[in-house]
């Protein structure tokens, strides 16, 4: 009789702990999901920021703009063929 009672108690304890385990796992999963979302958002935002900066850099480095500044403001010229020296290394 006492053996059956013991078994019963063990099973009840197992059920309760399993239930708590399920609740805990569920909670953990939600917590991790929120964390995942946060990190994904952070990653995306950093990527977007990077994209914007790339875009900005590409706009500043636009060949036409560089050429106008080089020729106009800085007075640079491309060397003519006669001015070029070919070196051998």
């Amino acid at each position: 009789m006492s053996v059956r009672l013991l078994a019963m108690l063990v099973l009840v304890a197992a059920v309760i702990s399993s239930a708590i385990g399920v609740v805990y796992a569920r909670h953990e999963s939600r917590r991790h999901f929120v964390e995942l979302n946060r990190l994904t958002n952070e990653r995306d935002n950093l990527n977007f920021e990077f994209g914007r900066l790339q875009l900005e850099q590409a706009t500043w480095a636009e060949n036409n703009r560089i050429e106008q500044i080089a020729r106009g403001r800085l007075g640079m010229v491309s060397p003519s063929a006669a001015e070029m020296v070919v070196t051998n290394r």
Binding site: R30, F33, N37, T59
Partner: protein, 596 residues
Amino acid sequence: MAPMTQRAKPANLRFRLYTVLMVLVLASTALVVRAVDLQVVRKDFYQGEGDARYLRDIPIAVSRGTIFDRNGEPLAVSTPVESIWGNPQELLANPEQLPVLAKALGVATADLTERLVQRKDKEFLYLKRPVDPDTAKDLLALKIPGVASERAFRRYYPSGEIIAHALGMTNIDDRGQEGLELAFDDWLAGKPGLKRVIRDRLGHVVENVELLQEAQPGRDLTLSIDRRIQYLAYRELKTAILDHNALSGSMVILDVSNGEVLAMVNQPSFNPNSRIAIDPAYRRNRAVTDVVEPGSTMKPFTIAAALESGRWKADTAIDTTPGTLQLQGGYTISDHRNYGMINVTRVITKSSNVGAAKIASTLSNDHMYDVFHRFGFGEVSGCGFPGESPGFLPISKSWGPVEKATISYGYGLSVTPMQIAQAYAALANGGRLRQPGFVKGAINPDSAVIDPQIAESVRTMLETVITPEGSGLAAAVPNFRVAGKTGTSRRAVAGGYEKRYVSLFAGMVPASNPRLVGVVVINDPGKGNGPYFGGLVSAPVFSKVMANALRLLDVPPDNVQRWYAGAPDVGHPIDPASEAPEYPADEPNYEESVPQ
């Protein structure tokens, strides 16, 4: 008093007991049936309805991959923008907010109301998109009920019109519509994810429940195009088109060693960053979609066929006297002037139509067709550009003597600038044809189309064009040897040819070991008056672009010590500014005969 417990009619009591019992059993059966009905039979329906009240599956927007040039410079970048949307039912329920919203959106209140009323039985309406993130934040800060924002992506092209045709564009949903954006749409687009969330009545996300499908951001694409060379080509082509008052033009530059497209530009162009309606004529990538008659740029392939037949050598003599050739049916082919006895090389140097036609007359139709076809004419180049034209090469069975003669100098067939570039690249690459490609590192296999010695021999002939005696002196690149061919053709229109021209130049540098092939096509220079010869209009563009492109690519000069021998200007390298020495000034060498 006697106890009242005694009952007179126990049978009646039993009846009442049974009745109560039966009612209870029936009631509980009804409950069980109802419960089974709800929980088992109609569970899906009620569960679905219940979930629909608060669970939502919402897509996770993904950004489209960035397109880079071969040096890692961004050419097309997607950045996030917001799409403002509203719930028409909720907005119409608060009419006092509509003027505020209309002002924030920059539209008239009446228009906004009309749009909302049209969709009044719906719960979703895009109010404005795209909106930059800062403006969207300000708009949401007004806290108008029923207005929310959704993340979307907008494509920006920092190089603008310079590379507009090659890249093409995307639509408002960030899907490729034209050009390489369309060709590589699946690669670039990525897969939007899906997540399930719990939302409250106002549509705010209360809790993320689960991730149904992970978002896959678009992959990046590295093109073979070099932004710097692209810019040079665009600048020079645009300048030439403005100077010559031309209608349109294209330039293609290929890397000989691997068939990669280094630059592909067209005029007129458009700004892909502006969403205003653009004339489709401006959006066409003429370098692959538009066909022209190649004119004399086709002669090297006729000569290649002649050399392959074994009947002709580079120095075989040919009599072009008197500068005209009468074919049966009264069709006359003429040269610009009478070149007399010349050899095969001079046919290329002087661009003699009579010479080319006489050479072609000794070849079989099938052989000539076969050589042209091997060089890729009459078929799409295989570069994978959407909407590419295969051009037109009539089948050899249909060639009569006149057709054959005209095809030998580039009339009666049509080609795209890309096809000319591909064919010249095969000559430059020792007779091995390679399909051009737009992706860096994705090199197409090549196949032998002609004997390497024949290719070498044709290349040597083409070098004589870029001398003071030839028609393409203006294509000379200082310090480099150039091989190339000019071409001038009448624009074909329905019912014949009009007095409008197409100026072409196709060439390769450095001629000793070709690295780059460039093709310049300028359509209708001068619009009927002004210079129109390929050697005057297109060749200078080639010279200017290649001079800088070779410097950018660090190609060592191969013409430092080699002076042009035999001309009066011995001791000077060949230069676009070299004088044409041996002819009177009224007979410049740029001129080539254009059939009437």
